[in-house]
């Protein structure tokens, strides 16, 4: 059972936890294939998180790449 607001893929959930820990906003916002958003609190840029990625490890990597690109905002 996945708790509400937590991504069902563990690798993605872990990346979202890291994003949150790095000061980013993680906003669940389910719509179709979308799970939600990661938002940079500095520049307000946003990254769309997929709900059912075929490759969860790569989805997690893309989240962390977004965080790294915005680490100096």
């Amino acid at each position: 059972m996945v708790s509400p607001g937590r991504h069902q893929k563990s690798a993605v959930a872990a990346a979202l936890d890291k994003a949150k820990g790095a000061g980013f906003e993680v906003r669940p916002d389910k719509n179709g294939h979308r799970w939600g958003w990661v938002i940079c609190c500095g520049c307000h840029g946003s990254f769309k998180v997929a709900g059912t990625p075929r490759d969860p490890d790569t989805e997690a990597k893309k989240i962390l790449q977004f965080v790294s690109r915005h680490s100096n905002c």
Binding site: G32, H33, R34, S46, G51, S68, R69
Partner: protein, 183 residues
């Protein structure tokens, strides 16, 4: 089949309606294309990874075709992100992942592999520009900007201009220009 990672720049920022359409298209169901939006109104970028295709140009063309399913959206430029994992760096450089692991850990080569730009437990991100400079110093023939991504970028820009100017370009014209198209 090979998998590719790259970034496409759209012709404008996606609207809420564009995102809603995107979120309901089965062509984007498996998450190989993500969006990055900017608060300053810059055009949305598509973070494409992992896109399956025989070549990088075909992977770019596949995503360009899919994004056209959303009325008014076009991919107009392509580039590689500078922030890479060692796996991505291996694909771009032509070395194996193991080779880069050994160079990064100092178990092979002279040492001095670029330090990660950002690290989180289990994942490190490196600057591709710095890795390129390091590999060139070892004698590798590796370009900071790959010819394939330059070609894909050029093709997208040409397609965008042709469409904008409503120029009618036949397959015969493309063949006359020397492009290897089937007539």
């Amino acid at each position: 089949m090979a998998v590719w990672s790259f970034t496409l720049v759209l012709n404008r920022a996606m609207t809420d309606a564009d995102h809603d359409t995107f979120d309901h298209l089965d062509e984007f169901a498996d998450g190989d294309v993500s969006t990055e939006d900017f608060a300053d109104g810059r055009p949305t970028e598509l973070i494409c990874d992992p896109v399956e295709a025989p070549t990088l140009v075909e992977a770019v063309a596949d995503v360009a075709r899919r994004i056209r399913l959303i009325p008014g959206l076009r991919a107009v430029a392509a580039r590689h992100d500078d922030m890479v994992t060692l796996g991505e760096a291996a694909q771009r450089s032509g070395r194996t992942r193991t080779s880069l692991d050994l160079l990064a850990s100092g178990k092979r080569g002279p040492g001095g592999f670029p330090a990660p730009e950002w690290t989180t437990p289990g994942t490190s991100f490196y600057s591709w520009a710095k890795i390129t400079a390091f590999l060139v110093s070892l004698g590798d023939e590796v370009e900071e900007t790959s010819l394939e991504i330059v070609l894909a970028d050029s093709l997208l820009r040409v397609a965008h201009e042709v469409e904008n100017r409503k120029v009618h370009v036949t397959v015969e014209v493309l063949a006359d220009l020397g492009l290897p198209v089937a007539v």
